[in-house]
């Protein structure tokens, strides 16, 4: 038998093996008690690991003078839509996503900013995206990272200017 014929025989046999696997698989799935539906009707709940917030980030009170000091870089962790409605003057928007790591370029920009202190502002909810982003940034090696306890609503409540 020449090489071409041998190749065709191998291909034919591979198709037969696959068909046998299909028949045996479907039959066994039908017969077993814990068989799964042939066609899944509802989406699988795929678990996506949350970014680890490994660093330490102390909380600052909303009226802390450090918020207004020149060496402070204000980061707003809220979604872009909320940021466009209201935000602190000179603050940068780095939206925090509980399911995805923060954009590395945003982290690099913070590192390059030369700020002496980074203060992250969230929405004050529980959990607070500001606190989580601050801990993530701290875990990535950024020093002097803080978050504002109560987030932007707390700053507004104590009369903080935009």
């Amino acid at each position: 038998m020449n090489a071409l014929n041998q190749g065709w025989v191998a291909l034919r046999d591979a198709v037969i093996i696959t068909l046998i696997a299909v028949v045996v698989g479907l039959l066994s799935n039908e017969l077993r008690e814990d068989g799964i539906p042939l066609v899944q009707q509802t989406e699988y709940q795929i678990l996506v690991p949350c970014p680890e917030t490994v660093g330490e980030a102390p909380a600052l009170p909303p009226d802390d003078p450090a918020l207004r000091e020149p060496g402070t870089l204000l980061i707003d962790a809220r979604p872009a839509a909320d940021f466009s409605k209201d935000h602190m003057e000179k603050s940068r928007n780095v939206p925090y996503d509980y399911l995805m790591p923060t954009d590395p370029s945003a982290v690099t920009d913070i590192l390059k900013s030369g700020a002496r202190r980074v203060v992250v502002i969230g929405d004050g909810s529980d959990p607070d995206p500001g606190e989580h982003l601050a801990k993530e940034l701290s875990g990535k090696g950024i020093r002097n990272v803080y978050f504002v306890r109560g987030g932007l609503p707390a700053i507004r409540a104590v009369g903080g200017r935009p």
Binding site: A14, I17, V24, S28
Partner: protein
Amino acid sequence: MKRLLSWRGHPPIALVARLYLGWVFLYACWHKLLHPGDFALDIATYQILPLSLVNLMAIVLPWLELIAGGLLVIGFRTRAAALCILGMMAMFSVAIAIAVARGQEMSCGCFASQGLKEDPISWLTVLRDLGWTALAAYVLVFDRRPLGVDGWLMSRKEKAPASV
């Protein structure tokens, strides 16, 4: 090329490759056969197949791994089994490469539904799978007279006319 193909050293080398690959596939199919629901979730996590095909894949693939792995070990329909394994390995390699390129942090799901920390995918996983793909390709191309049932059947066939 003809000399390379007819070299007598291929069958013993291919036997080692076959036993190793066969063991890998028999080991890999075990958990998937016992827990098809977990395996379906592993497939879904790759986010490559449409939802309608996920369960069918989870039902059929372990049996294909079992049959192809078993045939490779005993050396029956060896090249066909190697072709099946080559196809599966190519498919797995592409799927893992896509997931790694997308930055998906997930478990491979190759042997059991382990957690991300025990079995994370990486370019090393892709490299490992490409190695197994190369082994399957070697068996397919060079193992023309496999040591095993195929070899025994070939010997019988060759001796048959002389004994008549």
